[in-house]
Amino acid sequence: MLDFVQQLVSGVALGCVYGLIALGFVLVYKATEVVNFAQGDLMMLGGFFAFTFIGMMGLNYWIGFAGAVAAMAAFGMLAERVVVRPILGYPQFSIIMATIGLGYFLRSVAGMIWGTDDLKIETPFSQGVLRMGSLVLAYDKLSVIAATVILCTLLWLFFNKTTLGTAMRASSENMLAAYYMGIPVKRVVSIVWAISAAVATCAGVLLAPITFIHSNVGLVLGLKAFPAAVLGGFGSIPGAVVGGVLIGVIESMAGFYLAEGWKDVAPYLVLLAVLLLKPEGLFGLHVRKKV
C-alpha cells in the first residue's frame, strides 16, 4: 500500500510536468488551431535560461525564475513572429512541419551553447522531504504539483473570465470573423505564444530538480505530453492537466507493477485506445461535422 501511494505521488508529480507541457499545446491550439511540436523544446530552453540565471550568474532562485519566464515569453513571441505568422492560415501540416523544424533547431543550438551534459538547478525545495507517518514525500515533487494547480487555475480564469481570453477563444473559432469584430488577431496570437512559452518555462524550471536539464529532455517529455493532451481533449485547459496526471500515474504504475518495457509503451497504448474509443478526449467538446 505504501509503495502504491509513493508511486502515485511520483506519478502525479511527473504527470504534472506532462500536464504543463500539454497546457502549452492546448493554449496554442485553442487560439490558433496550430499544434506546436516545439513545445517540449521551449520547456528545455526555459530550463537552460533558468540555469544560466541561477546556476551561472548566481541570482536568487525566484528572481532567476521570473527572469527566465520573461525571457522565454519574449522568445515565444519572436518564434511566433518568425516561424508561425507567415504561414498562419495554410494547411495544418505545413505548420506542424515548421514547428518540428523549430524544435530541431532549438535542440541543436541549445546543445551547442550549454553542452550535452545534464545540468542541475539548486532550488529552495530540492532538499527537504515531507514526512507523513511512514510516507516520505519530496518537496520538489510537491512543488511541481502545487505550481501546476495554481497555473492551471489562473489560465482557466484567464481564458474564461477576461476579455483577452474571450478574444483568444473567438479567434480560434474563426479568425476572419474575429478580425471583423475588431479583435487584433495577430497580437492575440502573439500573446498566446508568449503565455505558452512562459508555461513551458515553469515546467522546465520545476522539472530541473527531478530529472536534469539536457538538450534532449524536451523531445522526450514533449512526446509524452501528446498522450496527455489527447486524453484530456485537445483544447481543454483542465483536461490537459488531468490527462497529464493520468498519463504520469499510468506510466509510473506500469513501471512499478509490469514487466520492463511497459513503462515506455503504456502512455502510447492509452493514447491509441483514447483515439479509437473517444477521440474527443475526456473534456473535449463533442463537435458534429457540418456538411
Partner: protein, 383 residues
C-alpha cells in the same frame, strides 16, 4: 511553348504526354546505368541510399501527398521490412521470397494501422502514427527471441539466384534502382487508375469524395497498405545496405527525415520524392566538405581581402571549430525545414516548375501563378 492537343481521356492520362518525356527520361536512365562505372565508390554508396530514400519517399507521397493522410511513422514500416528480411534470412529463405514476404507483412501491418486511422484526421493522425512508431520501436527492442533486442541483427550478404551480391557492388545498385523505377512506374499507373483518382478525391475533400460514391474507409486503408508495403520493400534493401540493423536506427528522427524528403522535394509530384532524397542523402557529404575544406577557403578569401596571416589563421581555426560543432546537422535540418515551409512550400520540384514556366512565358511570367490560398475562415476542428 508546346501545346498538347488532347482528343480523349486516353491522351490525358498517358504516362509520357509527349516525346520529349521519353527522350529526357531515357537519357536520365542511361546516365544512371553507366553511373557505377564512372562515379567513386563513396558516391555510389550515397546513390544507393538515394534510391532507397526515394522509394520510401514515393511510398509516403502516395499516403501523404495524394491521399492527404500525414504519417510520422514510416520508420516503423521500414523497420518491419528490414527485420522480416533479417529473420527469414536466418532460416535460409531465398531473397525473392523474403523480399515479397517483407512487403506483404508490412502491407498487412499498414492496413491494420490504417483501420484506427480512419476516424482520425490532421493532428490526431500525426500523433497516432508517432505512437505507433514508438510502440514498434519498443517491441523491436524487447522481443529478443525474434529481433535479438538492442544487440541488433546482422544481415548476411544478399544472394540472388545463386549469385552473391555484395552491398557495395554495382549489381546491388542496379537492384535498388530497379526497385525504385518499378515503384515509380507502378505508382504512376496507380495514380491514373480509379484507385488513384479516389485517393486524390479523398485528399481534396473527404465529404465530396463520399458523396461521389467513393468508399472512403476502404481507400484510406488501401492507401496505408500500399504505402507501407512499398516501405517494407525499401526496408529489405536498407537492411542489406547497412548489413546490420538495431532498433535505435528506426527512431522518430528517421520518420521525420522521410517527411523532410517529400517536404523538400515537393508533395504534389513523384519527382519530389527523388529530388528530396538526393537532398537529404547529400547533406552528409556536404557537411563533411564543410568541415574539411570550408575553413581553408574562407581564410583564403579573408587573405585576399587584405587580412594578415595571423588574422587569416585565426579565422580558419574559428570556422573549423564552428563547422565541427556537435549538432550542426540538427540545426541545419531545422533551418532547412522552416525555410522550405515558409518560402518554398512546393519544394524543389515546384521551384523547377516555376523556373521552367518563367522561361516558357518569358516576359509574361506572374509570381502569383503559384501563390497559395490562405484560409482563415474555417476551423479544422469543426470540419
Amino acid at each position: 511553348m508546346r501545346f498538347l492537343f488532347k482528343t480523349d481521356y486516353e491522351d490525358d492520362i498517358r504516362l509520357f504526354p509527349h516525346s520529349g518525356y521519353v527522350v529526357t527520361y531515357g537519357v536520365l536512365l542511361a546516365l544512371l546505368l553507366i553511373a557505377p562505372y564512372v562515379l567513386s565508390s563513396y558516391l555510389m554508396s550515397q546513390l544507393v541510399f538515394v534510391c532507397i530514400y526515394a522509394t520510401v519517399g514515393v511510398a509516403l507521397l502516395i499516403l501523404t501527398g495524394f491521399t492527404g493522410q500525414a504519417s510520422l511513422g514510416h520508420a516503423a514500416f521500414l523497420a518491419i521490412g528490414a527485420y522480416t528480411a533479417a529473420y527469414l534470412q536466418k532460416y535460409n529463405v531465398p531473397f525473392p521470397v523474403y523480399f515479397l514476404a517483407a512487403g506483404a507483412l508490412t502491407g498487412i501491418v499498414g492496413a491494420l494501422v490504417g483501420f484506427p486511422a480512419l476516424r482520425l484526421t490532421g493532428i490526431y493522425l500525426v500523433i497516432a502514427t508517432i505512437s505507433m512508431a514508438l510502440i514498434v520501436e519498443e517491441i523491436l527492442a524487447r522481443w529478443e527471441s525474434v529481433t535479438n533486442g538492442n544487440e541488433g541483427m546482422r544481415i548476411k550478404t544478399l544472394s540472388l539466384l545463386g549469385v552473391t551480391v555484395p552491398r557495395d557492388s554495382p549489381t546491388f545498385y542496379f537492384l535498388c534502382l530497379a526497385v525504385l523505377v518499378l515503384t515509380i512506374v507502378g505508382t504512376l499507373n496507380l495514380l491514373r487508375s480509379p484507385t488513384g483518382r479516389a485517393f486524390v478525391a479523398i485528399r481534396d475533400s473527404e465529404t465530396a469524395a463520399r458523396s461521389m460514391g467513393i468508399n472512403v474507409a476502404l481507400y484510406k486503408v488501401k492507401s496505408f497498405a500500399i504505402s507501407a508495403a512499398i516501405t517494407g520493400f525499401a526496408g529489405v534493401l536498407f537492411a542489406h545496405k547497412l548489413s546490420f540493423i538495431s532498433p535505435e536506427m528506426f527512431t522518430l528522427q528517421l520518420s521525420i527525415e522521410f517527411i523532410i524528403v517529400i517536404l523538400i522535394g515537393g508533395t504534389f509530384s513523384l519527382h519530389g520524392a527523388v529530388l528530396g532524397a538526393i537532398f537529404i542523402v547529400m547533406i552528409d557529404p556536404f557537411l563533411t566538405y564543410l568541415k574539411d575544406d570550408m575553413p581553408g577557403i574562407i581564410a583564403g578569401i579573408a587573405a585576399t581581402f587584405g587580412a594578415g596571416p595571423a588574422t587569416a589563421g585565426n579565422i580558419q581555426s574559428k570556422v573549423a571549430a564552428f563547422a565541427s560543432l556537435n549538432g550542426l546537422k540538427g540545426a541545419i535540418y531545422g533551418i532547412i525545414i522552416v525555410l522550405f515551409v515558409l518560402f518554398e512550400p512546393l519544394g524543389l520540384y515546384g521551384r523547377w516548375l516555376k523556373i521552367k514556366l518563367f522561361f516558357q512565358l518569358f516576359p509574361l511570367y506572374k509570381r502569383a501563378t503559384f501563390k497559395r490560398q490562405k484560409i482563415y475562415v474555417k476551423s479544422e476542428r469543426n470540419r
